[in-house]
């Protein structure tokens, strides 16, 4: 459904995302994980053609049934696709709704923009149905409220209702649960998965929470330093990571395991600023297993949909 090939995003001369390729099929749920600054959100923005002014994308992003390449497509083509075939749920439910507009009108607008509803009254009726679909109660009352009168969880449901309003083929969720309480998270994840399943849509789920990926996704892409370093089915990647970075990420999220001094595992160092990544393997500056060979950019080992880019994978020759 969505095919990204050799995507590069750069701010002037500064590369931010390099050579990212992946596909997401209809009905498939793919997770995109990595630390802050790894280029996850930029990848999503590039797919939507919503990069900041001074940031450019190259490579190719294809959507089934669209002749043009989305990279470099004119705004008129992109704005027709956004909200109808491509939809996005943002991280911050507090700020992603217009504070001076009633909730129902914001949902109705999603129907009106793409002329999916005949008039405002019909769009409002659709909106009530959509709000019910995301299991909000008393939708007639709630629709009349302004965003600041809703809780974070309610707002995120409203955003999901807006994203699902036109039955998109591709739904991108950019850390949708990060700002929510754990109890509310699970309900929202359920709604996202159901919404996508009912529509047979492709889901690209961006997060840094490995547990969330494990519940929601079937396949996972691991990103670091603007590159995809490992990909594969969720079980296999999370149970038997190949790339040293994935391994480090998993160790760091294991809150039971401690080292000999009783401290939790962490990846040494911090994510470098954009443009400060080492040449060759992007992870080598923080990798315990790095050697001279890592000064060379590792090729992709394995299948496109299941493989890694590491000279010394976990479980390989030590």
């Amino acid at each position: 459904m969505l095919k990204v090939d050799g995507l590069r995003v750069a701010a002037g001369e500064l590369p931010l995302v390099s050579d990212v390729s992946f596909t997401v099929g209809g009905g498939e749920r793919v997770g995109l994980i990595g630390e802050s600054g790894s280029g996850k959100s930029l990848t999503a923005s590039a797919v939507f053609g919503l990069l900041p002014d001074d940031v450019t994308a190259a490579g190719s992003v294809r959507l089934d049934g669209v002749r043009e390449d989305l990279v470099g497509a004119p705004e008129s083509v992109l704005s027709r696709l956004r909200g109808s075939r491509l939809a996005m749920v943002f991280q911050e439910p507090m700020t992603a709704l217009n504070p001076s507009m009633r909730v129902i009108d914001q949902v109705a607008e999603a129907r009106l923009v793409h002329r999916a509803a005949a008039d405002r009254a019909a769009a409002r009726r659709d909106a009530l149905g959509l709000l019910e679909q995301v299991r909000l109660r008393d939708v007639a009352e709630l629709g009349k409220a302004y965003p600041h009168q809703l809780s974070g969880g309610q707002r995120q449901r409203v955003l999901l209702a807006i994203a699902l309003a036109n039955d998109p083929d591709v739904l991108i969720c950019d850390e949708p649960t990060t700002a929510l309480d754990v109890t509310v998270q699970a309900q929202l994840l359920d709604l996202i998965v159901n919404g996508v399943k009912e529509r047979d849509a492709a889901l690209l789920f961006i997060t840094h929470d490995l547990a969330v990926v494990a519940t929601v996704c079937e396949r996972v892409l691991v990103m670091y330093g603007g590159r995809i370093v490992e990909s594969g089915p969720v079980d296999e990647v999370l149970d038997a990571p190949k790339h040293r970075y994935t391994k480090g990420l998993l160790d760091a999220s294991d809150l039971e395991a401690v080292d000999e001094r009783g401290r939790l595992h962490a990846i040494p160092g911090a994510v470098p600023a954009a443009g400060q990544f080492p040449s060759g393997c992007v992870f080598r500056a923080r990798c315990p297993r790095a050697d001279d060979q890592c000064g060379e950019q590792p090729p992709w080992f394995g299948e496109p949909a299941h493989g890694h880019a590491c000279w010394h994978p976990v479980g390989g020759e030590e």
């Binding site: 939507f48 919503l50 705004e75 704005s79 027709r80 696709l81 956004r82 909200g83 109808s84 491509l86 939809a87 996005m88 943002f90 911050e92 700020t95 992603a96 709704l97 217009n98 504070p99 001076s100 507009m101 607008e109 999603a110 923009v113 793409h114 302004y146 600041h148 009168q149 955003l159 807006i162 994203a163």
Partner: protein
Amino acid sequence: MRNLVIGAVLVGLIVLAALVSFLWTPFDPTQVDAALRLQGPSGAHWLGTDRFGRDLVSQLMVGARTTLYVGVVAVGVAAVVGTPLGVFAAAGPRWLGEIVLRANDIVLAFPALLLAIMFGAAFGASTLTAMIAIGVATVPSFARLARATALQVLSTEYVLAARSAGRTGLAISVRHVLPNIAGLIIVQCSVSFGIAVLAEAALSYLGLGTQPPTPSWGRMLQESQELLAVQPRLLIVPGVAIAVAVLGFTLLGDGLRDRLDPRLEGRRAQG
């Protein structure tokens, strides 16, 4: 809240005086009577008469009309021209926005009084000329405010969300930007109203605004100038009226800001 009430009462007083003046004034405000020159306050003439024997209360009431008329037109011109310009400068193509901004700076750098004098010379001194000159001189402050606040709104996630839902430029400006800056624009209107009233008084004082015999608070001030030492009352009455008008609109603006500023919205709902 208190500002809003006080402001509304003061402004209401002026509006009421102006409205009543259409139906009734104690005397004809333009009637000259040499026998009644420079009388102090009395039962018939509550605030006395000026050096032509005209009733001060009547002049004040009819002058309120001029004041409101000037404020409405001047602020209307400024808001209707300035706000879309500012939003456009923020949302439109960058180079066009730059041109709008530079043009804005030029008008801003131009002394308002000089502009009014030029307008007066070109189109003849009248209340209308004064109003339009004041309006044009006030356009930049609206354009600046609109641009700055529109930029803020345009950088919010809900505008990004609207774009990711397929909304495009103009629709975003109308549906998302304008409603969210409207509160601040209304506040600016109220504050500018006070400034416009003051500017009209100044222009009329210089003889560039309202022409005789139409009563205007600014002209009342001017005419009382020579009698300042003997009859300070003649200066104090219109002076107080102008001060009340400016104070009223400014307080109203302040009070409205507390109610309309979207950034204060959440706080109010919680508190």
